[in-house]
């Protein structure tokens, strides 16, 4: 008996919890701009990491100088693209 009362209470609480937002009169807005900025920051971070790793590989002698310069320029170009997007925001 106590069991079913407990369950009934849980049931009602859950339903109220779910329905509550739909009783709001106006639609709500959820901020979304933050996530795109964050993802560009993440992209920037990954590119920087790649440059650092490339520098390390060059120091360790795993990359030839010409390849090193080419790849580094490619990566830098990508970084500047990301930065220009970020600056616009």
């Amino acid at each position: 008996m106590i069991g079913s009362i407990v369950f009934l209470i849980i049931f009602i609480l859950v339903i109220v919890y779910i329905i509550q937002p739909m009783l709001l009169e106006k639609d709500i807005t959820i901020e979304n701009t933050q996530s795109t900025t964050e993802s560009f920051l993440q992209r920037k971070k990954i590119l920087y990491k790649q440059i650092k790793e490339l520098d390390m590989d060059y120091q360790l002698g795993n990359v030839l100088e010409q390849d090193y310069i080419n790849t580094r320029n490619d990566l830098k170009r990508e970084v500047s693209e990301v930065l220009s997007v970020l600056n616009k925001k």
Binding site: F11, Y17, Q20, I46, Q59, L60
Partner: protein, 657 residues
């Protein structure tokens, strides 16, 4: 009363999961955020109510409520408390509920962690999770309900008890870890479906999904290793891996998961290979569901086979549903996923990863083929062919060695392109070491796979050690640090790179352990007290046999003195023969069990099994096995875990610029 609440909770969760899907679908259609908020709450409620149902079952098991069929089947009054709890995943109904429980944990974490950063994908992520939950809720509600009352017309005084084989400390943690792995792939799958549906796949998405995959892959890996450890310690046939369908079921998603772990890095760094990564995620998740199906359907008669049951067709239906829906979506969104970039060079890290991917996938196919071969041959030719471990060994050893080779080659390749000069410079020493090892082994009269495996291992270890050495030396020179500090900082600044290398070291050591299998030797013999027997350079002498009555079993304990060739005593092995349920009036209920004793050296294990005792003649029968290098499998396993943890450890907020 309580069992009824458990059943009701499952009904409620089922209803809630349907409501979640409906609310979020309407949100996607109308864009009304109130529906989104309600849907999110409903999604959380499904998980919370599922937790509740699981706790109810745990409570019933702990309190030995034999009115519930499941409790009476898998526990008895004398089952130790901890094993009453582990009975939660001992049977089918309980383990399906347990699947749902873990999925609910993951679901709550994924929703709370990403609801802001992946706001656009969230509705879809929640829909996919709720759909998988719905599937398992249908199973536990209608097909295999753990709260079904006992169907007996008398009051049960006791339950049937838990299988003694499962009463082992490893079995407490092995299934949950395996499940953490299996179930966890639901989340990357949900993220992928959401990304394809919403056509948004940004850098943050990759970071999140990569961390999930790494964590889940680690859990699966530990689960598999612990399963092998359990088999080795408890089952008494002297091995840790038998290519049993249930083992294969967990191995297949691990293989594709490993491939995924490598190829997702290409997407992170180069923003390419998206179609391939999506394919791998879908396949891995499907294999997880398929693995649960293999374990639970009884389609395979496996050594540790579980029950035959009606869940089979439902599972198979779900597997096909996943495949059809996901691949249709993939095809529909192919333009979005196409990057237009290409791999620049044959000799780049990217191409190395791709080769490794192909081999992992093909190996997974080989395991799949062997696992399903009996079913296929029965369907096509009408005769059932059973597939033994030698078949899997024959196929997979060469493929595995190919992977081992790539483990060594990969780290020497850099991203985008590796020039010939650098490659030659980097490969000279490791290749020389490998060849010298091969020559020495050849002179030691080793041949074939053993020779190749050991030589490749030395090659791979050399490449990794050189990588570490170069890194340390460069830091010592440029930063003027001493060796230890240089080592520490090198690791800390490049966690994923050096963590990965450590994982590779672990894998190499495991390969060394696997190779030791070629030198196994064994002998079966009977001894009277005082008699001796020899195997290799060891002598075994039976000192005495004692008997003991313990709470839930009766045991004969043999004292076997182990001496080396010089007569020095190494240890006294104490294998046992036990009888569980020995007080039972019905002799059929009494269950013998051999508790083995293993003595570990670094280079070999002495494995002793007490087979039986002939009380009339006073003869005890033993099986002794000498298994070289087994310890290295477990050592490699520890290193594998350590390396993955290093890679997983979050890096501090980086302050670039």
């Amino acid at each position: 009363m309580i069992p009824v609440i458990g059943g009701l909770a499952l009904n409620l969760a089922l209803g809630l999961s349907i409501i979640t899907i409906i609310l979020l679908s309407f949100h996607l259609r109308t864009g009304d955020n109130r529906l989104y908020l309600s849907g999110q709450r409903a999604a959380l409620a499904v998980s919370l109510v599922s937790f509740f149902a699981t706790f109810v079952l745990a409570q019933l098991l702990l309190s030995s409520n034999f009115d519930v069929d499941y409790v009476a089947h898998y526990t008895s009054l004398e089952t130790p408390t901890i094993y009453k709890l582990t009975a939660l995943w001992a049977g089918q109904a309980g383990s399906l509920l347990f699947w749902l429980f873990i999925l609910s944990i993951y679901g709550v974490v994924a929703i709370l962690q990403n609801r802001r950063s992946q706001q656009k994908l969230m509705p879809w992520i929640m829909i996919v999770i709720a759909t998988v939950q719905l599937f398992f809720l249908i199973l536990v509600n209608f097909v295999s309900n753990p709260f079904v009352p006992t169907d007996a017309d008398f009051i049960l005084a006791n339950g049937l008890g838990l299988n003694p084989l499962l009463q082992n400390a490893t079995m407490v943690i092995h299934p949950p870890l395996l499940y953490l792995g299996y179930v966890g792939f639901t989340i990357p799958f949900a993220f992928s479906i959401a990304a394809m549906a919403q056509q948004e796949m940004n850098a943050l998405w990759i970071k999140t999904i990569r961390t999930w995959i790494l964590f889940v892959w680690l859990m699966l890996g530990i689960g598999i290793i612990l399963g092998g450890w359990w088999a080795y310690q408890e089952l008494g046939w002297g091995g840790y891996w038998a290519w049993d369908p249930v083992e294969n079921a967990s191995f297949m998603p691990w293989l594709t998961g490993t491939a995924l772990l490598h190829s997702i890095m290409i997407q992170e760094k180069r923003n390419m290979l998206k179609v391939w990564n999506m394919t791998l995620i879908i396949i891995t998740f499907t294999l997880c569901i398929f693995g649960t199906f293999l374990t639970r359907s009884g389609i395979m008669s496996s050594v540790h086979s579980f029950s035959a049951s009606s869940v089979g067709p439902i599972f198979l239906g779900f597997v096909f549903l996943i495949l059809i829906v996901s691949f249709s979506l993939l095809f529909y969104r192919r333009a979005f996923l196409y990057s237009g970039k290409r791999i620049e060079s044959f000799s780049s890290r990217e191409s190395g990863f791709l080769f490794n991917n192909v081999i992992f996938v093909v190996m997974c196919f080989a395991v799949f083929w062997g696992t399903l071969f009996p079913v296929i041959s029965e369907a096509i030719r009408g005769t059932k062919i059973t597939v033994g471990a030698p078949f899997f060994d024959q196929i997979n050893i060469p493929i595995g060695l190919l992977l081992l080779l790539l483990t060594g080659v990969g780290p020497l390749l850099v991203w985008r392109r590796t020039s010939k000069q650098c490659a030659i410079r980097n490969f000279t020493i490791p290749v020389t070491v490998g060849l010298v090892t091969a020559l020495i082994l050849f002179l030691l009269k080793m041949r074939g796979y053993v020779l190749i495996s050991f030589s490749l291992s030395s090659f791979v270890l050399t490449t990794i050690i050189i990588e570490f050495a170069k890194g340390i030396r460069s830091r010592m020179r440029s930063q003027h640090e001493n060796m230890l500090i240089a080592f520490w900082r090198l690791m800390r600044k490049n966690r994923s790179r050096y963590g990965g290398y450590i994982v590779h070291i672990g894998i190499v050591l495991m390969f060394v352990g696997f190779t030791g299998h070629a030198f196994d030797s064994e002998k079966e013999f009977g001894l009277k007290v005082g008699e001796k027997e020899h195997l290799n350079n060891y002598q075994f002498e039976l000192l005495r046999i004692s008997e003991q009555e313990r709470p839930n079993h009766y045991a004969w304990i043999a004292d076997l003195r182990l001496q080396d060739s010089e007569g020095k005593t190494i240890t006294i092995l104490q294998p046992e023969k036990r009888i569980y349920f020995f007080r039972s009036p019905d002799p059929d209920r009494r269950q013998p069990h051999s508790e083995l004793d293993i003595y570990n050296f670094l280079n070999s294990d002495i494995y002793s099994i007490f087979n039986g005792i002939d009380t009339d003649k006073g003869v005890a029968y033993f099986k002794i096995m000498i298994n070289p290098l087994v310890s290295w499998v477990w050592i490699g396993g520890y290193i594998f875990v350590l390396g993955t943890l290093i890679s997983l450890y979050p890096s501090r907020k980086e302050t670039v610029i």
